[in-house]
Amino acid sequence: MSAALEVRELAAGYGGDPVLTGVSFAVPAGSSVCVLGPNGGGKTTLFRALAGQLAPAAGDFDITGRPAYVAQAAHARLDFPVSALDVAVMGSLAGRWWLPARGRDRDAARAALERVGLAGSEPTAFGSLSGGQRQRVLIARALVQDATVLLLDEPLAGVDPASAETITALFADLAAEGRTLLVSSHDVEGARAFDAVLCLNREQVAYGDPAAVLDARVLETTYGRELILIPESGGAGGVRAVAVQHHEH
């Protein structure tokens, strides 16, 4: 299967020393990859580099099709006078931000909202939606961009379990359509459901099949002291891992 995304010895940062180095991996089209790492480990930097917002400090990458970076929903303003449809229509800004939205852009936005399970929510104020619904609206905005590679920055952060389940099912549907998903997360156990996992801690720690990659050594190298390993019941020697998240206030 051809690679939708191939990254070679990528390093990226914000002008000084790179904050992320030595990243190399390839993702087949229609695959989903969970990107794990501590806060400051380079997940967002990787996504911004792949989205073209940051020039690589070293290395390069190839993307087949169009990437879309979906920032954390928590960064969007809830007091802003926009509806769910308005936000989805923003996807049509890509490549033509200086032109007004067309009727077909609104049609595409409506279709994208329906695709993420929010048909009927078009006129709802964005700030009135639940956290999970807001995240789905932002995914709809990426779908309006007709993106084939979705870079989703912690889409499940702060989302209630029911919405998380809906969004996770949506990931599977999008991958089945042939879209490639990179999803950053702190949910180590949830990462096991993805096709592959990429572990970052300012450099690439590991990449591959979650069942093969997610062992105690990799997780400790990735998270250091931000990880709690819990022996699984049954005494088979397995461990469950919980990443401790630190939030800026």
Binding site: A51, G52, Y69, Q72, P81, A94, S121, T124, L138
Partner: protein, 284 residues
Amino acid sequence: MALDALPDPIYLLELRSTRTAALELLLLAVAGGTLGAFVVLRRLAFYTHAVGTATFPGVVVAEAASFSPRVAALGVALAYAGGVERAGRRGRDPGAEATGLMLVLALAVGTILASDVFSSGAGVDRVLFGSAVALSDADVAVAAAAAVLALVAALVFGRAWAAVAFDPGGAAGLGVPGRWADLALLAIVGACAVAALPAVGALLVTSLFVVPAAIARLVTRSVAGLVAASVGVAAALGLLGLYGSVWLDVPPGPAIAVLGAAVYAVVAGALALGPARTPREAPA
């Protein structure tokens, strides 16, 4: 202060000076209302106040040097816009300490210079608070240019400004050049604020560029609605403020500002005391 009888609005429109002032304020309402919507959304109210005030020493120096005050003010405003954009790009907050310091500096330098330049306080008042009777055809032409500039800019940059204000990271992901969009907004607001100086003065640019949009923001739920309502409120405040300024024999800037603040207080109070607005719920 003894109040005169209310003047007849029709009589006022028969006077060339008040007709000119009304036309000037309507044109500035288009510029200020349109840009003000994005100023409020982008949280640039303090910048807008500062860029008007920053022109004060420039205008005074230009008066002393027999140079065009308008060109001097434009130069200062654009330089200030560039400085704010640069500070923001470096991650510093241009809306707080630096702006406050600049405001104090501009007022202090302007006042010191003005005491040597103007022979009477009336000249300083005109620069700071505007004048309804001293407006010229050239002022109206500049206001018309500002209105056209604001409308064209809103058509070209409006979606990008809204996207960046809503979600800067997401807008960057959409390929919106946030830095250039911000620089364009700062520079265009600065240029259009200069057009408003003759009518409302350096200190009260916000009476047309922030207050109407802030009022409209209380009652609108879409960006397009905000822009339209902001222009309408700015036009109403401008005309009523002009009427009040003639009645009370005060400059139009303070009359518009006081009226705008009163309307804001009434609308905000009514919304706070009225039944809670129920957000439209989304299906689960």
